[in-house]
């Protein structure tokens, strides 16, 4: 008994000591960052590596790592700094966002890149805003990410653009008048895109049937049958990669003869591989089409092939995902901002970001007054189910 008592007492003491010690510890590390003198600038990477968006987040990080391997230093106010990527896993879900974000802030990063997924970006944005650290959204498409926070910028297009772009493609190009939307209950990304898609599609004169599924659902057969019963010419399902694969599977087994429309999340080699040998038509919007910049493609493929970890994180092959390209562009945009700021102070970088202009692989990157990228077109790709690759279809704008 006295052992237990001692144990509990020491635990309580350790707790209190720990709390105070950490106070001191935090300060000390802050000073280290300032006085160290080694010319190093830290860029925070706020991405999911686990959870539903883990695969996508990993591909996005790959782009940043590749960019860093090409350009490991940056010239700031006449001095050369080594760039260090501080990577933290935000585990996909908003409740893990704050602690992951504050970890980055504690590491004295000058600017943050990420995240894949909007909900977790909104959750982390609060911390970045409080700390005055600028963040560059790479593929988070919800308008609220930038409209809520002054510190958040974004290099990709947004849902109010992407949804209508797909609606326009479905109605005008494919000639579809009835669409079926399928989204996961509880995912703000899915629901947001469905909202904008529906709004645009109905404005064009089409009709929409919307349904939702519960998280963890693994059988989409009934949903596909509902779409068939509704006479839908297309199923729009802006869901994460796992569910996209399930939907492709079910559409094939139920003999759905319309088109599966996907958002940027579908642009993954996993989705296109799951469609190999199946009788399905898939079209997705994306930020970049492989082949758009042959030099870049060749370079990153060589890098992925020479790096087994990168190969694993890319899903086992060297196909270039659009989010990887976006990660690459985000890294260079951050470097541009650092150069323009002429300092590693987050406040200076934040002040410099709005006027940054960078010609990236995915196109010209400039920010408007809310911090969104000025983009007016998306790429539409379709899946080639014989070879398992994405093929360029068209550049889609919104009327």
């Amino acid at each position: 008994m006295s052992m237990k008592k001692l144990f509990s007492l020491s635990l309580a003491m350790a707790l209190i000591l720990g709390m105070t010690a950490c106070g001191g510890g935090g300060e000390a590390s802050g000073e280290d960052g300032g006085t160290e003198g080694a010319k190093e600038v830290r860029i925070g990477v706020y991405e999911p590596q686990t959870g539903d968006n883990g695969p996508g987040g990993k591909q996005e990080i790959l782009g940043m790592q590749y960019a860093q391997s090409i350009q490991p230093t940056v010239e700031i106010a006449g001095e050369t700094y080594d760039v260090k990527l501080e990577i933290v896993d935000n585990r996909t879900t908003p409740e893990n966002g704050p602690s992951a974000a504050s970890q980055l802030v504690d590491k004295d990063v000058s600017v943050v890149l990420g995240s894949y997924g909007s909900g977790v970006s909104v959750a982390g944005g609060k911390i970045f805003e409080e700390a005055g650290v600028p963040a560059i959204g790479v593929s988070c498409t919800n308008p609220q990410v930038t409209s809520d926070y002054d510190c958040y910028f974004r290099i990709c297009f947004t849902d109010p653009f992407q949804g209508p772009a797909l609606a326009s493609y479905a109605y005008d190009t494919l000639g579809i008048t009835t669409a079926y939307t399928l989204s996961m209950l509880g995912s703000d990304y899915d629901q947001g895109l469905v909202y904008y898609f529906t709004e645009a599609f109905e404005a064009l004169g089409g009709s929409v049937v919307s349904e939702t599924f519960n998280d963890g659902n693994a059988n989409f057969v009934s949903y596909i049958n509902n779409a068939k019963a509704a006479g839908a010419g297309a199923i729009f399902a802006p869901v994460s990669i796992n569910y996209a694969q399930l939907i492709v599977e079910a559409a094939d087994s139920q003999g759905f003869d319309g088109t599966l429309l996907g958002s940027d999340t579908w642009d993954s080699n996993k989705v296109v591989e799951s469609a190999v040998g199946k009788d399905v038509r898939i079209a997705v919007t994306t930020f970049y089409q492989e082949g758009g910049d042959p030099d870049f493609d060749a370079g990153i493929k060589e890098w992925i092939n020479s790096n087994p970890d990168a190969m694993t994180n890319n899903g086992g092959n060297d196909m270039v995902a659009a989010v990887t390209v976006m990660g690459y562009d985000a890294y260079f945009t951050a470097l541009e901002a650092l150069k323009a700021a002429g300092s590693t102070d987050p406040a200076d970088v934040m002040a410099a970001l709005p006027s940054v202009s960078y010609e990236g692989v995915s196109g010209l990157i400039e920010f408007d007054e809310i911090g969104d990228a000025k983009r007016d077109s998306a790429f539409i790709k379709v899946a080639n189910t014989t070879d398992g690759v994405w093929e360029f279809e068209k550049v889609q704008g919104v009327k």
Partner: protein, 369 residues
């Protein structure tokens, strides 16, 4: 008597030290520092863990609905405190939502700061009351069930609640699957600790009252308790309702900590996590739950992060310390506790019991001589 006094003094000293530590943290560190975040989160968990302990540990009712009541509290808090001006942007898909008032603004006649604080506390209270009301309603049929059936039924209720809150039909209030945000939050760790502390103090008072003794009697032997004249269903329901009230308030505080509210995080795994905290601390010990919450959150969110990212205690082994190792180590520790230290850290003892006993023992020895 002196030992009672001594206990009280020592307890007060420990509490004062903890509070001072929080104040130091708040004074020296910026609000976004990880230490502030983990203290805040741990305070929320300590309140919810104590509320679960009240039910599972003190009344012997095995309920797994905690996450559901927290969900209700979190939504109530967020919905009632989002500033009216922000409602259009938050409820972007639902035309600004159904409600056009915000409690902190209603209380603004008290002055800006005080009004906001009163409004926030009122919203927490509403969240707690709603959770209590729901507990009362589902308690009618569910509490008649035996231990494991009760567990699974409450788990089911929590899942149904989660679906309802994500349903677009309720969207004008709950914002469907979209995040609720832009509401006021506590930015200081001390605020969380103080609020949770005060509420836990209320639980302690309850446990030491006649009601508390009745709860324990029910836990120890239902039949005997009934024979002693304790109204079983009345007391069970009361314990369930009160526990849910605190879980609801805890949910509201969770919303503050997270900064955004969505229904997805409030799934059964959250309940399991809290249950395991209670088990680590000792079923039937309030201080045990408190200490376990802090240990658990501090370790999982901060101290043991190195286990996931390659380097821990200076050992660099990226092959071993990769993503998920932290939680794997954690769950092994939990299983060891469950199997070999079934009484947890504290058993059913409280910190004052341990603090107070040493001098008593010495006195006995003196007397013996």
């Amino acid at each position: 008597m002196t030992s009672e006094k001594r206990k009280k003094l020592l307890t007060l000293a420990v509490l004062a030290a903890a509070l001072a530590a929080c104040l130091v943290v708040d004074a020296t560190l910026p609000s976004y520092h990880i230490a502030v975040k983990v203290i805040s989160k741990a305070s929320v968990y300590m309140l919810v863990a104590v509320s679960m302990n009240l039910l599972n540990g003190f009344t012997g009712l095995f309920s797994l609905g905690q996450a559901g009541f927290m969900l209700l509290g979190a939504y109530a808090y967020a919905v009632l405190t989002i500033p009216v001006a922000k409602r259009d942007s938050v409820y972007q898909y639902f035309d600004g939502g159904l409600l056009h008032f915000s409690l902190p603004e209603i209380f603004s006649f008290l002055g800006e700061d005080l009004g906001t604080l009163v409004g926030m506390l009122a919203a927490l209270l509403v969240g707690g009351l709603l959770a209590a009301l729901l507990a009362y309603l589902i308690g009618l049929p569910v509490l008649r069930l035996k231990s494991d059936y009760l567990a699974i039924a409450t788990l089911g209720f929590a899942e149904i609640l989660r679906t309802l809150f994500q349903w677009n039909g309720l969207g004008p209030i709950t914002n469907g699957s979209n995040l609720l945000k832009s509401y006021p939050t506590f930015s200081r760790a001390t605020s969380y600790v103080l609020l949770a502390g005060v509420l836990i103090f209320a639980v302690v008072l309850l446990i030491n009252s006649t009601y508390g003794r009745a709860f324990k009697a029910i836990r120890d032997d239902e039949v005997a308790a009934e024979a002693m004249g304790i109204n079983l269903s009345h007391h069970k329901r009361m314990s369930f309702v009160i526990s849910s009230f605190f879980a609801g308030v805890g949910g509201g505080m969770m919303a503050m900590y997270m900064g955004t509210v969505a229904a997805l995080p409030f799934r059964s795994s959250m309940t399991y996590e809290i249950l395991l905290i209670v088990v680590i601390g000792g079923i039937g010990s309030i201080t045990g739950s408190i200490i376990a919450s802090f240990l658990y959150i501090f370790s999982s969110e901060w101290w043991l992060r190195g286990l996931d990212s390659g380097t821990f205690l200076g050992i660099h082994a990226p092959g071993l310390f990769k993503n998920g190792f932290r939680m794997a180590v954690f769950s092994v520790i939990i299983m060891v506790i469950v199997l070999f230290f079934r009484r947890g850290l504290m058993g059913d003892k409280e910190l004052p019991d341990l603090l107070g006993r040493r001098p008593k023992k010495q006195k006995k020895e003196v007397a013996g001589k």
